[in-house]
């Protein structure tokens, strides 16, 4: 019914940007980060990603069949949800965990609201938060990169995998993390989720989306900037002494800011609204990281701002031309 809505007078300009095309481009731009994740964490990361995508597509397909709706697995959104959810998981999770997350993402995060375009939250993040709340021990046990020989940055290790805290978790516990340089963080030589560690690969993907015009700079830039300023001011031992670069480079901030806070469905429509959204995300992330109980707050802050999106949209509605 909604799809037949056709309001406008001629002339019409044809735009060939279909939803599915954008979805596939986003998925494509996420490939570098995935390749980097598999390189860093080994083949297990590849299987986690594969299982996640396959089960997301399968869930979408079965739901379409059961509810007798059009099969929507080819619009790319289920694929993207599975991919993003896998990027939000540590590489050493048991193999039943990604399916549990994707089923929850697709059904509770998206389909119960009426499918793509109706969901009020980012489905992949809904899945991640569900897994975090349900099996916290699996979701917070990270392997440190077993090998990172290419750039000669670290010595090869004698073990297959060593569990390690993420930089943010170590920071939270007041541990010294001086052995990681900014370059390590930038290249992804640290413990963390599959898709979040390699910043340079994420930035490569983000650049593709920005150049193609599929995302605008407003949300990511304001988000990252606000988090940086907030952590610079409050995260140090005294005011204005925080290690802002560390906070920007660690955790899921880059992945979240470019690929999940820019979700078309659950974010504000206007530029002004998007800036409010980005600043809100940044503040919440900073508050959770510095004062909250969790080491990382990107997923929660994006979800909270998703919830605030209808209000932001209402108050930033553009003025109708010719009225006051």
């Amino acid at each position: 019914m909604i799809n037949r809505l056709n309001v406008s007078v001629s002339p019409h300009i044809h735009n060939d940007q279909a939803t599915s095309k954008i979805m596939w481009w986003v998925a494509l731009s996420l490939i570098p980060a995935g390749v980097a994740g598999v390189y860093i964490f080994g083949s297990r990361a590849f299987w986690v990603i594969t299982i996640s995508i396959v089960t997301a597509l399968l869930t979408e397909f079965l739901w379409n069949i059961v509810t007798k709706k059009k099969v929507t697995i080819f619009d790319g959104s289920a694929f993207l949800t599975g991919l993003l959810l896998a990027y939000n998981l540590p590489a050493n999770v048991p193999f039943w965990l990604p399916p549990a997350g994707t089923v929850f993402s697709i059904i509770i995060g998206k389909q119960v609201f009426g499918g793509l375009g109706q969901n009020i939250f980012n489905p992949a993040l809904v899945g991640r938060v569900f897994l975090m709340a349900s099996w916290p021990s699996y979701m917070t046990t990270f392997t440190s990169p077993p090998k990172f020989l290419a750039w000669g940055l670290t010595k090869p290790m004698a073990y297959d995998a060593v569990t390690s805290a993420t930089p943010l978790a170590a920071l939270k516990e007041g541990k010294f993390i001086g052995h990681l340089s900014y370059l390590d963080l930038f290249l992804g030589n640290r413990g963390g989720c599959i898709g979040e560690v390699c910043i340079i690969a994420l930035l490569l993907g983000a650049a593709i989306l920005l150049i193609k015009g599929y995302i605008s700079w407003h949300i990511p830039v304001t988000y990252i900037f606000t988090t940086g300023v907030f952590t610079y001011v409050f995260a140090g031992k005294q005011l204005f002494a925080g290690d802002w670069l560390l906070h920007i480079l660690s955790g899921g901030l880059i992945l979240g800011a470019f690929f999940m806070a820019t979700d078309y469905v659950a974010t504000p429509l206007t530029r002004k609204g998007q800036i409010i959204f980005g600043v809100g995300c940044g503040l919440l992330t900073g508050v959770i990281r510095v004062w909250g109980g969790y080491p990382e707050g990107v997923a929660y802050s994006i979800l909270m701002m998703n919830a605030a999106t209808p209000f932001i949209d209402r108050y930033t509605k553009s003025r109708v031309y010719g009225t006051s």
Binding site: A100, I108, V112, F130, A133, S134, W135, P136
Partner: protein, 197 residues
């Protein structure tokens, strides 16, 4: 008699207080962590519903219109006190588990709702069956919700392990899990209702 049975059965599914009327959700959210809590809460609420419906139906002609709500509350509070003291005496563990939610049955909207919507307009027998039906419907809803939550959240039912090696989904033991389960069940029952109509 047929009419009385109809008054009883409507509370089970067609006008189920939790899933169709969406009344009394507050205790439902709070105590549905385990099946034993659910059953205890259901029985206490059924007892209060039954007693207050009968008494209010008895005295409905003496209650002045303007102060009827305080009068209902006095009657309901009497039965809640009886239920609470009995629970304290015979099942202290359950009383500790349910805590503040037993005295809060006084303001449970099912109890007050049935007093206002049914007992004050109908005769004693009809009110008795209505109260019983609503109470049983509430208890069944609580058992369903708490069964799902206890099984998924702890892997157990009534304290017994059901499947070995099942990794409990913690979120269902938390308040967010209660909202999820109740929301999905509400949707499901309304879906069934819509399909029947």
């Amino acid at each position: 008699m047929k009419k009385l049975i109809a008054e009883f059965t409507k509370g089970l599914i067609k006008e189920n207080p939790t899933f169709i009327l969406a009344l009394g959700l507050c205790p439902t959210l709070a105590v549905s962590v385990s099946v034993s809590n659910g059953i205890g809460m259901g029985i206490a609420a059924t007892f209060v519903l039954l007693g207050s419906s009968v008494i209010i139906s008895f005295i409905k002609n003496f209650i002045p219109e303007r102060i009827r709500i305080p009068c209902y509350i006095v009657v309901i509070a009497t039965f809640v006190t009886i239920a609470e003291l009995c629970m304290k005496a015979y099942s202290p563990a359950l009383d500790r588990a349910l805590g503040i939610y037993v005295p809060l049955i006084v303001v449970n909207c099912i109890v007050l709702g049935r007093a206002e919507a049914f007992a004050c307009k109908n005769n004693v027998m009809a009110s008795l069956f209505d109260g019983l039906g609503m109470g049983v419907g509430f208890t069944l809803a609580l058992i369903l919700i708490s069964g799902i939550r206890e099984f998924l959240g702890t892997g157990r039912l009534l304290g017994h392990t059901v499947i070995n090696g099942f990794e409990p989904v913690f979120v269902f033991g938390m308040p967010s899990g209660a909202l999820l389960v109740i929301g999905l069940l509400l949707g499901f029952f309304n879906f069934l209702k819509g399909r029947k109509a």
